[in-house]
């Protein structure tokens, strides 16, 4: 079941010169219970904003306090131009959704829902990649721990690996952490 999306009480900054587009956008934000501030000055990282809309037609590097991979909140680009350079700029900022100008009211809510979802998915993917990268990085440790168990207990590779995994599960830590622990303490505690 898809829950009804809610933006109630969120704070948005619209980085855009005041215009029909910002008036239309501000009206929609108000309907959705979002407090929106319109301004044409750089955003700081510590402003406690929940959503950013940015003018991709005239936006410049430095308008946003982050680069795409570290973007901490959903970003919606406002675009009138079809110039590839401007589309690329929006993508480089990490835009999660696009609203074309002139801003038609029916496009705002869908763009917000999509941006929030895409942003959350992006964050989740980034977290998962970070976890996997750490596991890949620590793989030699697991190998070393298995070798150490095999040498100490005279067991086969599979048995040693199983013992390591069992302990990881019992202690509810990762295999890599178990391996690291094993390599710095007497091995008879394991298995």
């Amino acid at each position: 079941m898809s829950a009804t999306p809610s933006f109630l009480g969120q704070r948005a900054v619209i980085l855009h010169r005041r215009s029909d587009a910002t008036a239309s956008l501000a009206r929609c934000c108000n309907l959705l219970g979002i407090r929106a501030e319109i301004r044409w000055q750089p955003l700081r990282a510590d402003e406690g904003v929940d959503i950013v809309f940015v003018d991709a037609d005239e936006g410049w590097d430095g308008l946003l306090p982050w680069t795409a991979p570290d973007k901490p909140i959903p970003l919606v680009a406002l675009l009138g131009s079809e110039a590839p350079g401007r589309i690329a700029w929006a993508l480089d900022q990490g835009a999660d959704a696009l609203i074309m100008k002139p801003v038609v009211s029916s496009t705002v809510f869908p763009a917000l829902v999509m941006a929030a979802r895409r942003h959350a998915e992006g964050r989740e993917i980034a977290r998962r990649i970070a976890r996997l990268e750490e596991r890949v990085r620590l793989r030699p440790l697991v190998h070393a721990a298995v070798q150490s168990l095999m040498a100490g207990d005279g067991c086969g590779e599979e048995e040693a690996y199983d013992a390591l995994r069992r302990e990881a599960m019992q202690r509810r830590i990762t295999l890599e952490q178990t391996a690291a622990a094993l390599l710095v303490r007497p091995r008879k505690q394991v298995g």
Binding site: M1, F7, S106
Partner: protein, 381 residues
């Protein structure tokens, strides 16, 4: 300005025909009543797109481009409304929409006089869940109205610790309802939400009536079918007593006993004969048309921007109660009524005063609570 040209755009054939005829008749009756009474002359420009998307767009375009209409009262389905809106926007006109719908829209170029879910579905479930139980079956038409109403109902019921015991959507004109009814009979819900429409809904209500005769557990007093779109205008078509005891939510019923409704009913009886019942479609269209004319008269121009801002200051008495358009959402504040079908009429079981529309459910979250927790609906009187 001398003459207000009002586009009347309804498709009176097909599955939604009965609803659209009531919408059209409501608007036309209002225009007749205002002839001579209003400070401006009104010329209706009718158009019937016969259910075709292309014809909707073509007729809307002709109304605003050639016939000089800056206000169009029209469309029943959300699809038709979405088809017409770009034409309206492009020519800076105003569309007056008079039907209940699934919400999640607040276009500046549209005045929404019909109810959205916080004005129909949410209060309906606030009544149904404690009264009949929390095991609910969802039946809908395969169309955005059915899908979105079912989605919302599921959200409400789940949050109230209830259970959706089954859900089935049929093609819009489908009248083969055997599987649906067999599933209802097997799952034994406490009540059924039906978002079906026209012939499909009629076939379902007939089959439920049959099922109720075979098994008293499915009689309407124990397992009712409720809807947010069934009105008086479909009851004659349904046949005598088939839907008796079933329930519907609306912002108006013919049986409302108020001075203004007595006037409206007398007028309708004089024009259409004593058997004709007034539905919420008729009454809303009638009231919205009068509101449009009132706003234009006050402005002295039909300029949609001026009319929209004039609307903010108007609180017009109508058969639906005091009709006011919220300038933030362009939606009407509407009362909630729950009716039980008895012959050609609805017996009003429950009523709530005017509720401000919340088309994006920003304030009235569907957080219906388990059992005794208090209501979180925002009721504005």
């Amino acid at each position: 300005m001398k003459t207000l040209r009002l586009g009347i755009l309804f498709s009176t054939y097909g599955d939604y025909g009965a609803l659209a005829r009531d919408c059209r008749d409501g608007a036309m009756t209002a225009i007749e009543d205002l002839r001579g009474a209003a400070s401006i002359a009104i010329e209706p420009i009718p158009g019937d797109p016969a259910g075709s998307s292309e014809r909707y767009i073509e007729l809307a375009r002709r109304m605003v481009q050639q016939d000089g209409c800056r206000h169009v009262i029209g469309t029943v389905t959300s699809q038709a409304r979405k088809d017409v809106i770009p034409v309206i926007e492009k020519h800076d006109a105003l569309l007056w929409y008079v039907c209940p719908y699934e919400g999640f829209e607040a276009n500046p170029s549209v005045i929404y006089a019909g109810a959205c879910p916080n004005q129909h579905l949410l209060p309906l479930f606030e009544y149904m869940l404690p009264t009949f139980g929390r095991r609910v079956y969802l039946a809908g038409a395969n169309y955005v109205w059915g899908w979105e109403m079912n989605r919302l109902a599921r959200e409400i019921v789940t949050k109230a610790d209830g259970e959706i015991v089954g859900e089935r959507c049929l093609p819009i004109a489908e009248t083969e309802v055997e599987r649906l009814v067999a599933e209802v009979a097997a799952r034994r819900p406490d009540f059924i939400l039906s978002n079906m429409i026209g012939p499909s809904s009629h076939a379902f209500l007939r089959a439920m009536s049959e099922l109720g005769r075979r098994d008293p557990a499915f009689r309407p007093d124990r397992c009712p079918v409720v809807s947010c779109d069934l009105t008086e205008c479909e009851l004659p078509e349904l046949g005598n007593g088939v839907a008796d005891g079933q329930l519907a939510a609306a912002s108006y019923f013919d049986s409302l006993d108020t001075p203004l409704n007595r006037v409206l009913k007398a007028r309708v009886a004089a024009r259409f004969g004593p058997a004709r019942r007034v539905s919420s479609y008729f009454a809303t269209s009638y009231a919205a048309t009068r509101l449009c004319v009132e706003a234009v008269s006050r402005c002295g121009t039909d300029d949609p921007i001026e009319v929209r801002s004039a609307l903010a200051g108007i609180d017009m008495p109508s058969a639906l109660g005091s009709l006011r358009i919220d300038p933030a959402t362009n939606h009407a504040d509407l009362p909630f009524l729950l009716g039980r079908i008895a012959g050609d009429d609805f017996v009003i079981l429950q009523s709530r005063p005017q509720i401000a529309a919340d088309p994006y459910l920003t304030r009235s979250r569907p957080t219906l609570q388990a059992r005794s927790a208090p209501s979180q609906l925002r009721v504005v009187s």
